[in-house]
Structures are given as structure tokens and as C-alpha cells.
């Protein structure tokens, strides 16, 4: 079995980041878009932890913990905003966000 190198982690996190990115761009449901953004943040975490492991250096792991905390705060505010939006429009579909166009 080949050992797992930093390159593997890099590819994994790049794949996860791309899945999140594509999700944000093509999905139409606000909640799913929001989940895709969380996916991107977690891709970053994999990257940070992998390099923290490789350099035997704790900064990356601490950073990852901060990212998790910030993502939680973001989720609280994001879901709050989605809820407020839903109360006004009765929908969570991006295609129906049409009040303001360029």
C-alpha cells in the first residue's frame, strides 16, 4: 500500500473545494448553496491540518479550529437570514430572488 503523502491531502481538499464551488454555482436551493460553502471551508481545513501534520507544527490545527468556530457562527447568522428571507418570500429558490436586478 502506498503511504499517504501531502499530495494526496492536497488533491482531496482541491476536489472537495471544487465540489463546493460547483455546488454554489449550479444549485438553486439556498440551503444547498449554503451547504456547499461549508464544504469549501472544510476543504480548507483538510489542507491546514495536512500541512500542520507535515511540518509538525501546531499552527495549522489551531487555525482549523478557528475556522470551525467561525463556520458555526456563520451558519447561525446564515440560517437566520435564510429564515427571515423565507418569511418574506415563502421560497428558498435562488431563481425567485428577483426584487433587485442590476
Amino acid at each position: 500500500m502506498t503511504p499517504i503523502t501531502p499530495a494526496h491531502y492536497l488533491v482531496l481538499s482541491a476536489a472537495l473545494f471544487s465540489i463546493g464551488l460547483i455546488g454554489v454555482l449550479v444549485r438553486r436551493n439556498l440551503i444547498v448553496i449554503f451547504m456547499s460553502i461549508e464544504l469549501m471551508l472544510n476543504a480548507v481545513n483538510i489542507n491546514l491540518v495536512a500541512f500542520s501534520q507535515q511540518w509538525q507544527h501546531v499552527v495549522g490545527q489551531v487555525f482549523a479550529l478557528f475556522v470551525v468556530a467561525v463556520a458555526a457562527a456563520e451558519a447561525a447568522i446564515g440560517l437566520g437570514i435564510i429564515l427571515a428571507f423565507y418569511r418574506n418570500k415563502e421560497t428558498v429558490n435562488v431563481d425567485e430572488i428577483t426584487l433587485m436586478r442590476w
Partner: protein, 477 residues
């Protein structure tokens, strides 16, 4: 205790925010409390702390550096905060916004902005960015029952979180190359090693650039700006178009002109194209708007382009020009949005261009104030906007960036068209009978008057402030 010196300004603002929040929770129903006053005290305290720290170049915890650069930004932010709070009281009453939440969110985001300007570690810059942004997302949607407001908050939130992910990915790659997130370590590593210009470095610099470009609303990452600015309550728009921009540009300058300066050759071309696109799109699309807030949003995109020219020039005069520009732009834009906010009524909250028709006949003082702010945005002498543009383009010419300077001047000329359109509308058309704009209150008049006077002062006698700005950039490099 030594360690706390450099974070004193943010600490004071944070305490004021916490006090406001507590006061609100102990407030009896229908009891009136001067919550904004608490905020003002905090901001004045932060300004005093910043004055005491001036020239001391203190560092806290190794990652917060209150050098003159950060302190200058602190003064800009305090000015923005005080003007915003003074203008807000009337709007809060009119739209029945939750006062305690409103003021504490404004203060928390100012604390985040100050931290962002002073942070010298990418981790801390990220945290400060989030403290600032999360508060501003909520402020954007603080009118919970307003469909446009929640829609704006939502768009702003989604794209903001999206851009944070890019920024973070860039930080992760920087960490991978440099083994540290400290800016000085990044600078050392990038300057000292020849092997750093691999694909990982490209990714790191590129992703950080995208993250910052989103926050300063540079084209093509500006899509959220007009919607967020239009949907938010107008005073909040004034606040976020100036405060967020000042903080984001401060961190932008710190990261790109101190840490990534050795890699300049790799990012300067991309940034030049972004700056050109930002100036052109901000100006051209702005001409087509029929809503004042949307028009000012595009104007703020164009101004981000002019500021980027200062970063691209990258020399000492460019950096001090950025600081002066941020101050001039902050006062002017808070003023312009302030007039728009005070003109709005419950029935007409959106700031249509038509609401300004004949304003000179019904509310001459407001029309005069708006004219001053618009002329400054357009860069007419003798206003602050003119001097700011003069210095930014001057810095570009010094570096032989003639193309950028010419595009900057040309777009400024075109932008005058849409600023003057409002002026013409105010003075040369008849007011419409069915719309009676509200009267200017004493506070509103005093606040906007001071802002307008400062805009004139900076336009006529800029030397002292320019000198302050020049001395502020000594310490970051």
C-alpha cells in the same frame, strides 16, 4: 498589561458594544435610552486611545500592531462610526428598528474593522474580517419584514461567505509554503527564497487576491454590491460602503505591499486589469441607474478602482494617497448616503432618483449639502475628492503608469455625468407636489454640516492631513 496597549482602541469599542447590548436587555418596554450615546462614548474613547498610541508602534501578542498606519485607519473608522450613529437615531425611530441590536452591531463591526487594519497575522486578519462581516450582514437585513432588505442581506451573506472560503484557501496555501501565518514570516520567506514562485505560490496569491477583491467590491467580484447597498437601510449602506472598504483596503495594503511585495511581478498585471475593469464598469453601469443608492453603489465600485491604482503604484506617495483617499471618501460617502437616508420616508424608503426632483425648492439646505458631497465624489476642486484623486493619479504617474492614470481620469470625467444629473434634478426641475420630503433635524443638520465642512477643509488645506498620512506609512515597511 503591556500586551493590552495595542488593542486598546478595539477593546474600548468592544466594551461599548457589550455595554450597549446589556443596556438594551435591561431596558423596560417603551423606556427610552440614549443607547447611541454609549456608542459615541466608546468611539471617542477609541479615538483618544489612538491618539495616545500615535508614534509608539506598540505590538500586542505579537500579532496586533498599532502602528501609525492602523491608527490612521482607526481615525477614519471612528469618524465613520460617529457620523453613522448620529444619523441613525432618526432612522431608527422612523423605521422602528431594534436600537440596542443596531448600535451594538455597528460597534462590533467597527471593532472588527480596527482589528483588521492592525492585524499582522493571516489568522487574525481572517477572524477580524469575519467579526466585521458577520455584523454587517445582520445590519443589512435588520429590517426583517422588508423583502428587499432580507434579500440584500442574503446575497451579501452568500457571496461574503463564498469569498471568505477563497481567502481562507489562499491562507492555507500560504501556510503550506511559508510554514507560518505571520505576515513578517511570509515577507521573509517570499523575499529570501527562489523556490517560492511555484504553482502553490500562484494559488496562494491568486486566492488571497480574489478574497480581497470581493471585500473591496472590485470587478468582476462586485455583483453583490449594488443589491446589498440598495436593500440595506440607507445609513447602514453609508456605513458599510466606507467602513468595510477602509478596513479591507488596510489589510489589502498590509498583505500585498508588505508581505507579497517581492512577488509584485506576478500579481501586478492581474491587479491592473482588475483596476481598469473596476473603474470602467463602476462608471459605465452607474450611468444607467435610476435609483440613487444603486448609483452610489456603482460609484463606490469605481472608487475602489481608483484606490486599487494607488496599490498598483505601490510607492510611498501611492500608499499615503490611499490613506487620504479612504478618509476623504469615507466622509463624502457617509454624507451622501446620510442625505439620502434623511430624505426617505416610511412610504418611500428606497431613494429613487425622482425623489430628488426640485429638492432645492422644498429643502434647500439638504440640496446644498448633497451637492457638496456629490461634487466631492465626482472629484471637483476644492473638495476632498479632488485632492484624493489628484494624489492617487499623481502616484501612478510617478511610477510611469500612464495608462492607468489616463483611464482613471477619463472614468472620473464620465462619472461626473451621473453625479451632476442629481444636481441638475435638484435645482432645475420643479418639485413634485405629492412628495413632501421630511424636515432636517438639528442633529442631522449638524452632523452633515460637519461632514461637509471637513470635505471642504480637506479640499482646501489638505497639507496637514497628507503629512499625517505620509508619516503613517513609514512604519509598515
Amino acid at each position: 498589561m503591556d500586551n493590552l496597549q495595542a488593542i486598546m482602541p478595539m477593546l474600548i469599542v468592544t466594551l461599548a458594544a457589550a455595554a450597549t447590548m446589556l443596556a438594551e436587555s435591561f431596558r423596560l418596554k417603551d423606556e427610552r435610552m440614549p443607547l447611541g450615546g454609549l456608542g459615541l462614548i466608546g468611539l471617542v474613547g477609541a479615538a483618544a486611545a489612538s491618539i495616545l498610541l500615535w508614534n509608539r508602534n506598540t505590538t500586542s501578542f505579537g500579532v496586533v500592531q498599532s502602528d501609525n498606519f492602523a491608527l490612521f485607519i482607526n481615525f477614519v473608522l471612528v469618524a465613520v462610526g460617529i457620523l453613522t450613529i448620529l444619523l441613525s437615531s432618526q432612522v431608527i425611530d422612523r423605521e422602528e428598528l431594534p436600537a440596542g441590536e443596531y448600535y451594538s452591531l455597528v460597534l462590533f463591526s467597527i471593532a472588527g474593522m480596527m482589528l483588521m487594519a492592525a492585524a499582522t497575522d493571516l489568522l487574525l486578519i481572517f477572524l477580524a474580517l469575519e467579526v466585521m462581516s458577520l455584523a454587517v450582514y445582520v445590519l443589512t437585513g435588520i429590517r426583517r419584514t422588508d423583502a428587499a432588505g432580507t434579500e440584500a442581506a442574503f446575497k451579501y451573506f452568500l457571496l461574503g461567505a463564498f469569498s471568505s472560503a477563497f481567502f481562507l484557501y489562499g491562507v492555507a496555501f500560504t501556510y503550506a509554503i511559508v510554514h507560518s501565518t505571520r505576515l513578517e514570516a511570509v515577507a521573509l520567506a517570499v523575499a529570501g527564497r527562489s523556490d517560492v514562485s511555484g504553482p502553490l505560490t500562484w494559488l496562494a496569491v491568486g486566492l488571497l487576491l480574489v478574497g480581497f477583491a470581493f471585500k473591496v467590491s472590485a470587478v468582476p467580484f462586485h455583483m453583490w454590491t449594488p443589491d446589498a447597498y440598495e436593500g440595506a437601510p440607507t445609513v447602514v449602506t453609508g456605513f458599510m460602503s466606507t467602513g468595510v472598504k477602509a478596513a479591507a483596503f488596510a489589510a489589502f495594503v498590509r498583505v500585498f505591499l508588505s508581505s507579497f511585495e517581492p512577488l509584485r511581478g506576478e500579481w501586478v498585471t492581474v491587479l491592473s486589469w482588475i483596476a481598469v475593469a473596476t473603474m470602467v464598469v463602476g462608471t459605465v453601469v452607474g450611468v444607467a441607474q435610476s435609483n440613487v443608492k444603486r448609483m452610489l453603489a456603482y460609484s463606490s465600485i469605481a472608487h475602489a478602482g481608483y484606490l486599487l491604482v494607488g496599490i498598483i503604484a505601490g510607492n510611498a506617495s501611492g500608499k499615503s494617497a490611499i490613506l487620504f483617499y479612504l478618509l476623504a471618501y469615507a466622509l463624502t460617502n457617509v454624507g451622501a448616503f446620510g442625505v439620502t437616508a434623511l430624505l426617505a420616508t416610511r412610504e418611500r424608503p428606497r431613494g429613487d432618483l425622482a425623489d430628488f426632483a426640485g429638492l432645492w425648492h422644498s429643502r434647500p439646505v439638504m440640496a446644498a449639502l448633497m451637492t457638496i458631497f456629490l461634487l466631492s465624489l465626482g472629484g471637483f476642486p476644492p473638495t476632498a475628492g479632488f485632492v484624493a484623486k489628484w494624489y492617487v493619479f499623481g502616484a501612478a504617474v510617478q511610477e510611469q503608469l500612464y495608462g492607468l492614470a489616463i483611464i482613471g481620469v477619463l472614468t472620473s470625467v464620465v462619472s461626473v455625468f451621473y453625479y451632476l444629473r442629481i444636481v441638475v434634478l435638484m435645482y432645475m426641475t420643479d418639485s413634485r407636489a405629492e412628495y413632501e420630503p421630511p424636515r432636517l433635524t438639528a442633529t442631522g443638520l449638524a452632523t452633515l454640516g460637519v461632514a461637509a465642512a471637513t470635505v471642504f477643509y480637506l479640499g482646501v488645506l489638505p497639507a496637514r492631513v497628507i503629512e499625517l498620512a505620509t508619516r503613517s506609512i513609514d512604519t509598515i515597511f
